[in-house]
C-alpha cells in the first residue's frame, strides 16, 4: 500500500483556537461625557461597580468542581465616535480610580478596534454574518431590501408603497415581534449610517455586539483570532490613541481575555443599547469552528455554555446616569 498524501492549504482551511476564561467581566465603558465629568464621576462609577463585580465573581465561583474560576476584567474606551484626552493622560487615571475602589482592570480595549483592527474590517465581517430571524411564512426568498442597515426582532409594519393601478392600498398593520409572548416588544436597531461619501459609521449597539463576540472568543478573520491582547510593556502610555494596541493586557497575571460567558456592569442608561445588542447577537451566525472549539473546551471542563450566543451574555444595570 502506498501512502501518497496530496494537500492544498487553500482547500483545507484551519481555524485557530483562543485561550478562554470562565467569565469576562466588563467594569466600565467610557465616553467623552463621562470623561468630561471628571475623576469624581469615575470614582462614583467604580464604587457602584465594586459590589456587583464581587457578586459576579461569587456566582462564577460556584462551579461544579469547586476550582477557582478564571475571570478577567476589561474596560472599553470610546475612541470611535469622539476622540478625547490621550492614553498617557487617561489610562493612569483610570487605573488609579479602579485601584482606589479595589478593582483591577486586566484588559483595556479601544472601541474603534471593534470597527477595524489591524486592517481587518471586523464590523463589516460581523454585519455579513447577520441571518435575520424568519417570521413564520418565510419559505426562502429574501425580502428585496435586506441591506437597509436596520435589524429588527420581528416584522415591521408594511410600507405603504404605491399599489398597482386600480388596486387598493393595504390598511396599516402593527409591527410584530417574532418571539412575542402574546404581546410584542418590537425593536428595530440601526446598525450603521452612511456619510455622504458612502462611508459607514457603525452604530454604538452594533460595535457593542462585536465587542461581546470578541469577549466570547468567537471572532475570527480567515481562521485567525481577531482582537488578540498585547501585553503592556511598562513605561508611559502613548499620546495618541492610534499608538495604543487595540486590546492591551495591563495585568500580567490576568486570566485569558475571552471567556465562555460575559457580564457587563453598566449604568442603566445603557439598557436600550444592550437590548439592541441582544437582538443583533440573536441573529448573528458566528464562526462555526470557533463555536465548536468553545463547545469542546467547555464540555471538557464540565462548564455548560448556553447554545445560543445571546444567552451567554449578562448584565448588571446599576441606578445612575
Amino acid at each position: 500500500m502506498t501512502g501518497a498524501v496530496f494537500r492544498e492549504t487553500a482547500a483545507d482551511p484551519r481555524t485557530q483556537a483562543v485561550p478562554l476564561s470562565h467569565l469576562s467581566l466588563e467594569i466600565g465603558h467610557l465616553y467623552l461625557e463621562d470623561f468630561e465629568a471628571g475623576p469624581a464621576q469615575l470614582r462614583r462609577h467604580f464604587a457602584q461597580v465594586r459590589p456587583w463585580a464581587e457578586a459576579a465573581r461569587a456566582t462564577a465561583a460556584a462551579g461544579p468542581d469547586g476550582r477557582r474560576p478564571r475571570i478577567s476584567t476589561c474596560f472599553l474606551v470610546d475612541d470611535y465616535f469622539t476622540r478625547f484626552s490621550s492614553p498617557a493622560e487617561l489610562v493612569p487615571m483610570l487605573l488609579a480610580e479602579a485601584d482606589r475602589a479595589g478593582l483591577v482592570i486586566d484588559y483595556l480595549a479601544r472601541e474603534s478596534s471593534c470597527a477595524v483592527t489591524g486592517g481587518t474590517p471586523v464590523a463589516e465581517a460581523v454585519a455579513g454574518r447577520i441571518v435575520e430571524s424568519p417570521p413564520p411564512g418565510s419559505y426562502g426568498p429574501r425580502p428585496p431590501a435586506a441591506e437597509t442597515g436596520w435589524l429588527a426582532n420581528g416584522e415591521r409594519s408594511p410600507v405603504a408603497r404605491a399599489p398597482q393601478a386600480m388596486q387598493r392600498a393595504a390598511a396599516w398593520q402593527p409591527p410584530a415581534e417574532t418571539a412575542a409572548r402574546r404581546h410584542s416588544v418590537f425593536l428595530d436597531a440601526e446598525l450603521w449610517s452612511e456619510d455622504p461619501g458612502g462611508r459607514r459609521l457603525w452604530s454604538c449597539p452594533f460595535l457593542a455586539a462585536v465587542w461581546q463576540l470578541a469577549r466570547l472568543g468567537l471572532l475570527r478573520a480567515a481562521g485567525e483570532p481577531v482582537l488578540v491582547p498585547r501585553a503592556h510593556t511598562g513605561g508611559p502610555f502613548p499620546d495618541d490613541w492610534d499608538d495604543l494596541p487595540a486590546l492591551i493586557r495591563l495585568n500580567p497575571r490576568a486570566d485569558p481575555f475571552a471567556a465562555y460567558r460575559t457580564c457587563s456592569v453598566l449604568p442603566s442608561r445603557f439598557l436600550p443599547v444592550e437590548h439592541a445588542v441582544r437582538v443583533i447577537l440573536d441573529q448573528t451566525e458566528v464562526d462555526r469552528a470557533a463555536l465548536d472549539q468553545v463547545a469542546d473546551r467547555s464540555a471538557r471542563e464540565r462548564t455548560p455554555v448556553p447554545a445560543s450566543v445571546a444567552d451567554r451574555i449578562s448584565y448588571v444595570f446599576y441606578a445612575g446616569p
Binding site: R129, S138, E285, A295, D296, V305
Partner: protein, 319 residues
C-alpha cells in the same frame, strides 16, 4: 439544547443546484475567482488547483419558518436555516446550491432564533418529520409558500451576477439547469444508491440513499458534481441543435465549445469516500462519460472537416 457536537441524526437531506455558464468574456483566474466568491469578509474562499481549478464560497444562511413540501399534502412546519454556497469550476461554470438537513423530530414549538443559528444548515420540524413524503415533495416541487430551496439558490446567484467583475459577455448562449436532490439514510445492510431523472424544463432530480451520518455538505458536493457534468452534456448537445453540417455556421457554433467547455469534463474531481461509487453506476448506465466522448469526437471531426482548406484558399496562399 447542546450545540453542534450532539446534533440529532438527519432523517432527510435535500438541496437544489443551479448550474450556469459564467457570463464573462474571459474565464476568471483563481485569484479573481476568490475575489468574486468572497461572500464574507472574514471567511476564506476555498481554492483548489488539482485536479482542476475550483473555488467555493463560504456558506451563507437563510432563515426559514414554513411548511415543507410533501407529496401527500400533509402539513409539516420546519424552522431553521438553509445553507447556500456558490462554486466556480475553471473560472467558467458557476453553480449555486442550497441544502438543508432535516432531523426526524423537533420540539412542538419554535425555539429562540439564536438556538437555530448555532446549527447552521439544519431546519427542525415542529413535531415529527415524514421523511419519505417530504423527499417526494422536494423532488416534485412544493406548493406556493412551501420551503423553496431553488429560490434560495437563485437568490445567491442573482447576488453574484450583480458583482462588478461580471461583464455579461458570455462566449455562447446556454441554458441554466436546475437539479433537485433528496437523500434518505440507507438501512444498515443497504448499499448507497442513486436515481437520476431528467424531467422537463431543464429540471433534473436525484434521489439518493446514503450511509447514515453522511454530512449534507458531502452529498451536496456529489450533487454539484453531477449537476456540472449533466449541464456540460446538455449544453454541448444543444450546440448541435439547428445547425446544418457543411456550412460555415458549424465553425461559429462549435468553436466556443472547444474554447470554453471541452476541458471541463472531470467527473468525481471532489467526490469523497462512500459516495464516489455512486458515480460509477451512472458511468455504466446511462454512461455519462461515454456520451461526452462521443460528443467531443463529433465536434473535433466537424472542426477538422471545416479546417481543411478549400482549393480556392490554397491557390491564394501559393505565391
Amino acid at each position: 439544547m447542546p450545540p453542534a457536537a450532539s446534533a440529532p441524526a438527519a432523517a432527510l437531506l435535500c438541496g437544489e443546484v443551479r448550474t450556469h455558464l459564467l457570463p464573462v468574456h474571459q474565464a476568471l483566474d483563481i485569484r479573481t475567482a476568490a475575489q468574486f466568491l468572497g461572500l464574507r469578509a472574514d471567511e476564506r474562499v476555498l481554492l483548489s488547483e488539482r485536479p482542476n481549478l475550483y473555488a467555493r464560497s463560504p456558506d451563507t444562511l437563510t432563515g426559514v419558518d414554513c411548511p415543507l413540501p410533501t407529496a401527500d399534502g400533509a402539513r409539516t412546519r420546519a424552522v431553521g436555516t438553509v445553507a447556500a454556497r456558490a462554486a466556480l469550476t475553471e473560472g467558467r461554470v458557476l453553480q449555486s446550491s442550497a441544502h438543508v438537513t432535516l432531523p426526524a423530530a423537533g420540539p412542538d414549538r419554535r425555539r429562540p432564533w439564536g438556538e437555530y443559528l448555532v446549527r447552521p444548515g439544519v431546519a427542525e420540524p415542529v413535531g415529527k418529520l415524514p421523511p419519505d413524503a417530504v423527499a417526494d415533495g422536494v423532488l416534485g416541487g412544493g406548493r406556493p409558500g412551501d420551503l423553496d430551496l431553488g429560490a434560495i439558490a437563485d437568490g445567491l446567484l442573482t447576488r453574484l451576477l450583480r458583482h462588478p467583475l461580471i461583464d455579461h459577455r458570455p462566449p455562447l448562449r446556454s441554458r441554466p439547469t436546475r437539479l433537485r436532490w433528496a437523500a434518505l439514510p440507507a438501512a444498515p445492510d443497504e448499499e448507497p444508491s442513486l436515481e437520476f431523472t431528467l424531467a422537463e424544463d431543464h429540471l433534473r432530480t436525484v434521489r439518493l440513499r446514503v450511509p447514515e451520518g453522511t454530512p449534507a455538505a458531502e452529498v451536496a458536493g456529489l450533487c454539484d458534481d453531477l449537476a456540472l457534468h449533466d449541464w456540460l452534456l446538455t449544453t454541448v448537445v444543444r450546440l448541435f441543435d439547428g445547425i446544418r453540417p457543411d456550412t460555415p455556421a458549424v465553425l461559429a457554433a462549435l468553436r466556443p465549445a472547444v474554447d470554453h467547455l471541452l476541458h471541463l469534463w472531470m467527473p468525481r474531481a471532489r467526490v469523497t469516500g462512500d459516495l464516489a461509487p455512486l458515480w460509477d453506476e451512472l458511468e455504466t448506465r446511462p454512461g455519462f462519460t461515454r456520451q461526452w466522448e462521443t460528443l467531443v469526437r463529433r465536434i473535433r471531426d466537424q472542426l477538422a472537416l471545416h479546417a481543411i482548406p478549400s482549393p480556392h484558399r490554397e491557390a491564394e496562399l501559393t505565391p
